[in-house]
């Protein structure tokens, strides 16, 4: 009888169907024909960055499959790419670009000025959902006099026009389905996208520039941060584009098999007030809330030693950055004094619309206990990302909310009075417009520094902290970008040593 029992149990545990292959690293090959496994939480919505492709499509295709007239390098400089040279008219209203010759799309079609014209028009078209559309407001006319020249005329001067062009993908004008296929001029061809799983790029041998240093790159997408980290721990992927789970870091720091890179990030976490609505239409109340929160403790509790404190919207990588972390210092007494001066001596309560994904619920819980110290009661209302767009972003039906802002140079949004946080300061609006029409970069920088200082003075929002930009990679990988500006992730430089 005993024999049968043990037999039955071993049958149950004997994994008859398991082909226990050893943990097969995805790319046995190394060197120039390696396949690089990249892990990320940001799967594209679709493949067209003017059709709502989202942050994921920039990460996967920007600079890898698609290229612009100019390229934004990993440390924030704008350099020529498909444009070899350009001239600007005296009044700064006419730009003439010289296109690189001998460049072909992956489909074999030659790159012409017509494609460049088509690509720019696509970004500013009525139904374009490109995040950069508004910054091309001043563009009045686009012409392609010949195959290798593009002329753009502006209504008003726009000093960051060339910088903004680094976001415009030069696409093949004949590609009818940009959301599902990709035909660019970059070092990789788009080969396959299995939604919810992987997106694969293969080296394009007909590339005009220097060849990519690896044969194939596969983006593996995860919805859960721990699953992403586990994948790296078990060598299914070689690198994580941006580490979102702070606590998982301890598994990699101090582990010789992995390298943790702390780069410069542009992602800010905001407690955004609705500046139109009481009590947050009152500067003193906003500054009181700002000073009541121990931001240092919040940052440490979530990110430990990583991340930075910031006092305003501008991240360190922007040319007009100044460290304003102490403009609204953590000072509970100051907060209480400000509250009494604003007539809220015995405190008040407000509803905080909190997106339901990390880290917002945890931050909300922290803010609730911090603000309780100054008599302010926070009602946490958890909403889905989708609801955030409808309730907060479009209807502006909120008192305060939590949200992260990913892009660089987005301090300019404080110059737009009917943006969702409703900050109205005509002086700031004027500085922002002047900065864009500045003739020199220095003029632009000094104007935007004033904007940055002013919104900090007014505590237009509470800038809680700057996310760290952590790229974790296996030790035998090199040549990968660490800053990932505006969620770009150039993979053509990545090499994988043997072993």
């Amino acid at each position: 009888m005993r024999k049968i029992l043990t037999a039955a149990v071993t049958v149950a545990l004997g994994l008859s169907l398991a082909a226990c292959g050893a943990d097969d690293t995805p790319s046995a090959a190394a060197g120039a024909d390696a396949t690089i496994g990249v892990g990320s939480l940001y799967e594209p919505q679709n493949l067209d960055n003017t059709g709502g492709g989202g942050q994921g499509v920039t990460e996967a295709l920007n600079g890898n499959v698609y290229e612009g007239l100019f390229r934004l390098t990993d440390d924030g400089k704008t350099e020529n790419l498909l444009a070899t040279d350009y001239t600007v008219s005296g009044d700064g209203l006419t730009y003439t670009f010289k296109l690189r010759t001998g460049v072909t799309f992956h489909s074999g079609k030659a790159l012409t000025a017509a494609d460049a014209k088509y690509s720019l028009e696509k970004v500013i078209a009525p139904d374009s959902k490109s995040a950069r559309k508004s910054s091309f407001g001043p563009v009045s006319g686009i012409t392609a006099p010949d195959d290798s020249t593009l002329v753009v005329t502006l209504k008003t001067r726009s000093i960051s026009f060339v910088y903004n062009l680094s976001y415009v993908w030069i696409v093949n004008s004949q590609n009818q389905s940009p959301t599902t296929t990709a035909d660019g001029t970059g070092p990789y061809r788009f080969t396959e996208w299995k939604r919810g799983s992987t997106l694969s790029l293969a080296r394009f041998d007909g590339y005009w520039g220097t060849r990519a240093s690896n044969k194939e790159v596969v983006f593996h997408y995860f919805t859960d941060a721990s699953a992403l980290n586990n994948a790296l721990l078990t060598n299914q992927i070689d690198i994580i584009t941006s580490q979102q789970s702070p606590d998982a870091l301890s598994q990699f720091t101090g582990n010789p098999e992995y390298k943790v890179n702390d780069g410069a990030s542009t992602t800010k976490l905001l407690l955004a007030f609705n500046d139109r609505v009481a009590p947050f239409d009152n500067v003193k109340v906003r500054k009181a809330v700002y000073s009541a929160v121990d931001r240092k403790k919040l940052l440490e509790s979530i990110w430990g030693t990583y991340g930075k404190l910031i006092g305003s919207m501008v991240p360190p990588k922007d040319p007009w950055f100044e460290d304003l972390a102490e403009t609204n210092p953590y000072d509970v007494e100051l907060a209480k004094r400000l509250l009494t001066e604003a007539g809220h001596g015995n405190g008040f309560s407000f509803t905080l619309d909190t997106p339901n994904y990390d880290p917002h619920p945890t931050v909300a819980t922290f803010l609730k206990s911090e603000l309780a110290k100054v008599g302010i009661t926070v009602n946490i209302n958890v909403i889905t990302a989708d609801e955030w767009y409808t309730k907060v972003f479009q209807k502006r039906d909120f008192t305060a909310t939590l949200q992260e802002h990913v892009n660089d140079r987005d301090v300019v949004w404080y110059g737009n009075p009917d943006f969702y946080w409703g900050y109205r300061n005509p002086q700031v609006t004027q500085w922002v417009t002047q900065a864009e029409q500045a003739t020199t970069a220095d003029e632009q920088t000094s104007l935007l520094k004033q904007v940055n200082r002013q919104i900090a003075e007014d505590a237009a929002s509470v800038w809680l902290y700057l996310y760290p930009q952590i790229v974790v990679a296996s030790a035998d990988l090199s040549g990968y970008p660490v800053n990932g500006l505006n969620s770009q992730f150039y993979v053509y430089g990545i090499t994988k040593q043997e072993g």
Partner: protein, 321 residues
């Protein structure tokens, strides 16, 4: 028999149509807009309107319903609002993960549950019979995702024997990697499912062991094994088959949580994403496919039961379920 098939088939289609219409209305009532998935933090109102046009959520409800029904009749599940990819092919990709996962786990659960359940019944008076029954009691109380997490912790992170998740890019073109990727998920689902199956097999076996016809067979010279084999098995199979039908049906979409733990691109996670983004074609496509599958499984389980038990065959009309 044919009359039964026609009636049952008719019921199948009716409940399917009912489910689709109810689903369409329910989704439209939900707050939020599929267009939001296409927007970024700094979209202008004009861009929001453009997104709604692309998605079609700006058109009046009846019009949306007519276009949708038209597509459904032509079995064209339409295109995802968000990815603009056709929903059909993506579902088949996802089925290539969910179906093998569900079926293998189901088979493994049966392979575990039938012998263990049988032994548990045969030794119901002994201590090891009682321990198995207690273990199965524990088994049905354990959350699936917890089992998954523990298996990942032990086998993937600590022992590095299995991948911690994901499905190979080549899919089933590389069967070795695909099987290895599915091992822990299959084990997770199978262990929990076998726990509840053991209890059903045990109670069905006990019913048979206490039956008079088994005693008659032994009185006519059959050994207990032969009596069980010849008479017991078929009689125990009836109730167990109906439970298996329900269990397989719920496993089909029920692996959502396991797909999340193991980051598997299955049908469940596709539906979760669809719901989060109000991607109506994806939601309707997945639910259409899963409802069809579940009702077909129920139909087959019913059929199997009829074949097994002649008593059901005669009263084919008014049989009360």
């Amino acid at each position: 028999m044919v009359r039964y098939l026609v009636r049952r088939g008719g019921l199948l289609v009716a409940s399917l149509l009912f489910a689709s219409v109810a689903l369409f209305l329910l989704l439209r009532v939900l707050p939020g807009d599929p267009a939001n998935a296409l927007l970024t933090v700094d979209a202008t109102p004009e861009q929001i309107e453009a997104a709604r046009r692309q998605v079609g959520s700006d058109r009046p409800l009846p019009e949306q319903f007519v276009t949708w029904l038209g597509q459904l009749v032509r079995l064209d599940l339409g295109r995802s609002f968000v990815s603009t990819l056709p929903v059909g092919p993506e579902i088949t990709d996802r089925l290539a993960v969910t179906v093998p996962l569900a079926l293998t786990a189901f088979a493994l659960a049966i392979v575990i549950a039938v012998p263990v359940g049988y032994l548990c019944a045969r030794w119901s008076r002994t201590w090891y019979g009682a321990t198995i029954s207690a273990l199965s009691q524990l088994g049905i109380a354990v959350p699936v995702f917890w089992v998954g997490m523990l298996l990942v912790f032990v086998f993937a992170l600590r022992l590095r024997v299995f991948p911690s998740g994901g499905f190979p890019r080549a899919g089933w073109a590389d069967p070795g990697a695909a099987l290895t990727a599915l091992t822990l998920p299959v084990l997770t689902v199978a262990l929990v499912m076998s726990a509840s199956l053991i209890r059903y097999v045990r109670s069905a076996t006990l019913d048979v062991l206490h039956s008079d016809y088994l005693r008659t067979a032994r009185a006519l010279g059959a050994s207990s094994a032969e009596a069980m084999w010849r008479h017991g098995l078929r009689n125990a199979a009836g109730p167990v088959v109906s439970i298996l039908g329900i269990e397989l049906a719920t496993t089909f979409l029920g692996t959502v949580v396991v797909e999340s733990v193991f980051a598997l691109p299955g049908l469940g996670s596709m539906l979760v994403k669809g719901i989060m983004q109000h991607d109506y074609p994806v939601i309707q496509g997945v639910l259409f496919v899963s409802t069809v599958t579940v009702l077909v499984i129920g139909f087959l389980a019913d059929l199997a039961q009829r074949l097994l038990d002649p008593r059901l065959r005669r009263a084919s009309s008014g049989r009360s379920r």
